[in-house]
Point group: C2
Chain length 310, copies 2
């Protein structure tokens, strides 16, 4: 079977890709995610779009190895979702429903885990079997790949990197209800929060302005040699580097991939994280490599396809 589909379901759009099973993306496209009526149209819409792509390309059922799907929620190893924050779904047997809609083999996984798998297959982790991917966006997500497979866990909640506690003294509450989560210091909003706290202490020695703080503004100022920005990025790097050292002691990865919007700051970001990682890494993990993600928004469809290819 020469082809498979990778599907990445998000709250606004569903991204889809047609892949050759040896590892090339033939074509990608997207459709709107219709979340109304508890998201009942989402899977039928995807099935219809894949079917019309097969007709357009004159590809028959027997040429398709299957459909991999990434979903923004915990997904267990039977392809079942208990709840979603932004698709409208409650309990949903994604694997079974999509199988019935298409007659094809289906596998489903959490979107962050699937994106990590994509980076391992075709991106920054190419050729590796043991990898951590951290996605620094509005929140902090991630996926941990062990011996070629993402850690799914008992409740489909493996790889919740953003919610490991890195500061037991924190008094502000994280979106998850706890305090001191990695997400509170290293997401785009977390970096902005660190910057705001710094400027509350002293805002006279920096080009940063309280009115338009952002993670990008902080890294831009750092590149211009701003000392306050450097303090903020040191703090960010300390939290992320130390958290990665603890994760490495548990999963012993070959490479740690940093992705998401914040990672657009570039290699300078890696330098600060790696420095603090080395301070605390177990001796067997000191040489773990840090790299930036390469696939951007395509990581999800690539990893979803890889679920099928295995």
């Amino acid at each position: 079977m020469q082809y498979c589909f990778g599907v990445d379901i998000g709250g606004t759009t569903v991204k889809m890709g047609l892949f050759r099973t040896e590892g090339t993306l033939v074509e990608k496209w997207e459709i709107k995610t219709r979340t109304e009526n508890r998201g009942e149209a989402i899977l039928p819409d995807v099935a219809a779009s894949l079917k019309s792509k097969m007709e357009e390309k004159e590809i028959g059922h027997l040429q398709i190895a299957g459909i991999g799907i990434g979903i923004p929620a915990p997904v267990d190893d039977r392809g079942i979702v208990q709840n979603t924050a932004n698709l409208g779904w409650g309990y949903k047997e994604v694997k079974r429903e999509m199988g019935e809609l298409t007659g094809l083999k289906v596998k489903a996984g959490n979107d962050a885990n699937v994106a990590a798998l994509g980076e391992m297959w075709l991106g920054a982790g190419k050729g590796q079997k043991n990898m951590i991917m951290v996605t620094l966006g509005t929140g902090v997500g991630g996926g941990v790949i062990v011996n070629g497979c993402p850690i799914v866990g008992e409740n489909g909640a493996g790889g919740e990197i953003g919610h490991i506690c890195v500061n037991y003294e924190e008094d502000e509450t994280c979106g998850c209800g706890s305090r001191g989560c990695l997400e509170q210091y290293t997401s785009a909003t977390g970096i902005t929060r660190l910057a705001r706290r710094r400027l509350e202490k002293n805002s006279s020695d920096t080009v940063l302005k309280k009115e338009n703080l952002s993670a990008k503004a902080v890294f831009d100022a750092l590149k211009e040699g701003d000392k306050a920005a450097e303090e903020i990025v040191e703090e960010f790097g300390t939290y992320l580097g130390h958290a990665m050292a603890n994760m490495a002691a548990i999963t012993d990865p070959a490479v740690i991939v940093i992705g998401g919007g914040v990672s657009k700051a570039g290699d300078i970001l890696l330098k600060y994280v790696e420095k603090h990682f080395k301070e605390r890494a177990f001796f067997a993990n000191k040489e773990t490599k840090f790299v930036l993600a390469e696939l951007g928004n395509d990581a999800g469809i690539c990893g979803a396809a890889k679920l099928i290819i295995g």
Copy 2:
């Protein structure tokens, strides 16, 4: 093939077990570990012992599925050890050498990972696929089982639970060279250290005596209602509970198994760990169960046999 061997190589003795592949221990025995001359006799001694057991039981080569071996060192997925602390071995191709000595299929793994596998197969984690085992002995070791397999990692150093950092303010150095490792607070020696520190502040309000402090003395005093002992166990439980909450966010286990000499304190220990775990666990992990290990010193030979049975 009805039988397999489980071998657990330690610094003083090698424990061995003959198992039926459906999961019963037929017989166990042990021999001395001869570590002199860079441990060159260890594997030949084991091979000879297994051979004489086969002769005694009139079991032929074709009835043996293979030999699983647990080793007190990182072991990569090719069954290669780079170095050992207490066997005398440097670089050693354990899987290849043992295969040549016996003509049987061989698999090798780290002893703590293998013990975790044993508890999952026949002990406290029976029927589970996702499990963390923490062994609280002289040091702190452990194994993390994901989807039925131990996390080995890129350097065979997966599951180094004792060396995640839980206190960035610590000024005493851990055996690994870092500071603030879980092992410094939750091993038998770590608990003794916490007790010593407590008595240095105030030793007038407790039955504990500086001269004969031990983890056992602390838990015995706790059971008699000693307040200072309770403070010490609270501190122990805080470090271990919070560390397990962070590990659960990454690996999402069904159950966390606590073993090693310290766990002989019994269920009271679990109560203190579980309380602090719940304070910090990600919502998907709040219901994770805590249980005591069941197999004691047999966990190693059981898990080694399970490496073969798969």
